[in-house]
């Protein structure tokens, strides 16, 4: 028995019949997932198309990939299972033992040995893989088709290793002892910048007559490059699309949001800039602010997510990145947080699928579909084996300023480019000024000053913060100067009284379930604008920057020259004041907005 509950699916469950036929038994790794048959179906489709079909690589060649990589991961379940598979395929046990001791000295052909060196590097140290590794292996006579299969098999192995660890699958044969090998191999320099892929040949396919692509267009609005890079194997794309449909896009066990959190956090831990960008974007479309998504990617402990979801991410990251430390207590921890068996199982499946997708991308070198907000790359000073037991080395994470390129051009004398920066940031600057000044005409007027100052001081911009944050602080200073000149009475400074404390809401009538349905969008907007304008300046600025512009607490503090506790206190007070003002319009019995 594994860690989680199991059900009897009956001997006619089609995937189990397939396994019986292929292996003579149903592997424990799948028996342990009977609570979610749809997940088993998706996994079985990946397994059969990638591993069991013989096309460019033979099944034995692919099983060698699985065996050596599972050994590098020290995954006893997978080593035992695939040792048995290879024995069934007719490879003598003696030969298998030689491969386990050292595949490079096992009498394999130079091309086979080189292919295994590549798949091992990809499977254990993905972020270090570059175009050179792929072209180097192709030079041994492998075709693009066989490289694609090698990459997919590597990704599938990482999937199976994570999955077997997560469900606590016990070996169904006498466990193979994994020989102690020397220190883990080191793989030179991390993949160099600018050597982006795709590394392999692919065929253009039209979504109109290619169902997997039609599915991606439906779901994402475009075909992500990672899938465009695999058109040499349409059957695998089918299986991947179907796994995404049934495992990621379902909402009945874990929520879609929880799944996207896992995909984002695990991809970031795997230093996979490509997938971090994709899932950051998906989270944005389902209503999560970019800053919040960034926070989940960099450190979910300080992210705006529920306590239980934080525990869920702890669980997923440990399983993905520190499998040797993962065990039954981690399952217990999630049960303690109220997660049901099915949900824990799905978390394991999603984490495994994330490792699959991440490994695949690092092997194919699919270029980003849109400019990533952050680039993750290994810290060259801490090159180490990623799959080594124990915590992973610490990596640098770099802030990517989407404006950096334009700013550099302006600094080099290309004045006209500044207009693009104005266009990009006019709304943010305007809102900051409205927040500070509380007057739309004045705010429009002060925009000129703000951008002129920014232009004049562009040489002082240190790039320690993002250009947009720097610009917002110029806007807020410009607004504050005007405020002091014209209205010495109203200021953002604390008036000395502890007025943020002890604000008591007065209107405590319950609101309707769907308040936004009560009135037209334009009416709501007018109401919100009026309400915000009536707030005292010190609350107004914080509410506008946090709730309308969705700046992080730290950026708001920087822009307004406040300390973080002050931002939090004013934000809360401001929000409660807005709530109080909106309450008569949205509480039960109210009939919406009359403005």
């Amino acid at each position: 028995m594994g860690y989680l509950g199991e059900l009897e699916l009956g001997s006619s469950f089609p995937q189990f019949v397939t396994f019986e036929e292929a292996f003579g038994f149903v592997p424990q790794i799948f028996r342990a997932q009977t609570l979610l048959p749809r997940v088993i179906e998706a996994e079985a489709a990946l397994l059969t198309t990638i591993l069991l079909k013989e096309q460019a690589l033979s099944q034995i060649q692919k099983e060698y990939v699985v065996l050596t990589l599972a050994q590098a991961h020290r995954n006893v379940y997978c080593v035992t299972a695939h040792h048995e598979m290879l024995r069934l395929l007719g490879v003598p046990e003696q030969q298998l033992d030689r491969i386990l001791v050292d595949y490079a000295q096992a009498g394999l052909s130079p091309a086979d040995t080189d292919l295994l060196s590549f798949t091992l590097k990809l499977g254990t140290n993905g972020p270090f893989v570059s175009r050179d590794d792929v072209t180097g292996t192709l030079a041994h006579g492998w075709t693009d088709e066989s490289m694609l299969e090698a990459i997919l098999t590597t990704a599938l192995t990482n999937f199976l290793c994570t999955l077997s660890t997560g469900v606590g699958a016990a070996p169904e044969f006498t466990p193979r002892l994994i020989p102690e090998t020397g220190p883990s191999p080191l793989f030179g320099k991390p993949s160099s910048e600018g050597s982006s892929g795709p590394y392999l040949r692919a065929i253009e396919r039209n979504p109109a007559d290619f169902p997997p692509f039609a599915f991606f267009v439906d779901e994402y609005g475009f075909v992500p490059n990672i899938f465009r890079a695999q058109t040499l194997r349409p059957d695998v794309l089918e299986a991947e699309a179907s796994a995404i449909r049934t495992v990621l896009l379902t909402d009945d066990v874990l929520t879609r949001l929880q799944k996207e959190y896992i995909l984002l956090a695990v991809s970031a831990a795997n230093l996979n800039t490509y997938w971090v960008a994709v899932h950051g974007q998906v989270l944005r479309t389902i209503g999560v602010a970019a800053e919040d998504a960034d926070q989940i990617a960099t450190d979910h402990h300080h992210a705006r997510v529920a306590e239980a979801d934080r525990a869920l991410l702890d669980f997923a990251l440990k399983l993905a990145v520190q499998p040797s430390r993962f065990g039954r207590p981690d399952i217990e921890a999630l049960r303690h947080h109220g997660f049901a068996e099915e949900q824990i199982l799905e978390a394991v499946a999603i984490t495994s699928l994330t490792n699959f997708l991440n490994t695949m991308q690092m092997g194919l070198g699919a270029p980003p579909d849109f400019a990533p907000r952050r680039v993750f790359r290994p810290d060259p000073s801490k090159i180490a084996h990623l799959s080594a037991p124990g915590p992973r080395p610490i990596f640098k994470e770099q802030l990517v300023d989407p404006d950096a390129e334009l700013v550099a051009k302006v600094r080099n004398g290309d004045l006209d480019v500044f207009e693009e920066l104005i266009n990009r940031h006019s709304r943010r600057v305007y809102r900051t000024l409205v927040g500070v000044l509380g007057n739309e005409d004045e705010a429009r007027d002060a925009m000129q000053d703000t951008f002129l100052k920014a232009f004049q001081h562009l040489g002082d911009f240190q790039q320690r913060s993002k250009f947009s944050t720097w610009l917002v602080s110029i806007a807020s200073n410009t607004g504050l100067e005007r405020l002091r000149e014209r209205r010495p009475v109203e200021s953002l400074d604390d008036d000395g009284s502890a007025s943020e404390e002890g604000f008591r809401p007065r209107d405590v009538r319950a609101w309707t379930d769907d308040p936004e349905a009560l009135c037209a969008k334009t009416e709501t907007r007018t109401l919100v604008e009026k309400t915000v304008m009536k707030l005292p300046a010190k609350y107004r600025a914080v509410v506008v920057l946090r709730d309308l512009e969705q700046l992080s607490i730290a950026d708001t503090a920087e822009a307004l020259g406040l300390r973080i506790p002050a931002v939090k206190a004013r934000h809360l007070r401001g929000r409660l004041m807005v709530r109080e003002a909106l309450s008569p319009h949205f509480s039960g019995g109210a009939r919406g907005v009359t403005v």
């Binding site: 006019s426 915000v532 939090k568």
Partner: protein, 80 residues
């Protein structure tokens, strides 16, 4: 036991998901038997959503384009 005042002091952190597990338990315990704090929490959440999605103080292109052109004209003037 915590009071409504204690709850109000923590409601901001609670909404941000930024409270320690034991504080969270206390807050939720209070919520379970305090109707008015439930209402305030629920309506504050809804307020946040309404404000965020309102698109307030958005600047129409027709307004900011001339402003941008004006700024660029001044910059070019100063450079000459």
């Amino acid at each position: 036991m915590i009071s409504c005042t204690d709850f109000m002091a923590e409601i901001g952190n609670y909404l941000e998901g930024d409270v320690a597990a034991e504080v969270r338990l206390q807050l939720e315990n209070h919520l379970s038997h305090c109707q008015s704090c439930q209402v305030v929490l629920d309506s504050t959440r809804k307020t946040l959503k309404i404000v965020t999605e309102s698109g307030s103080f958005d600047l129409p292109e027709a307004v900011f384009k001339p402003i941008a052109k004006g700024i660029m004209a001044r910059i070019r003037n100063e450079q000459d």
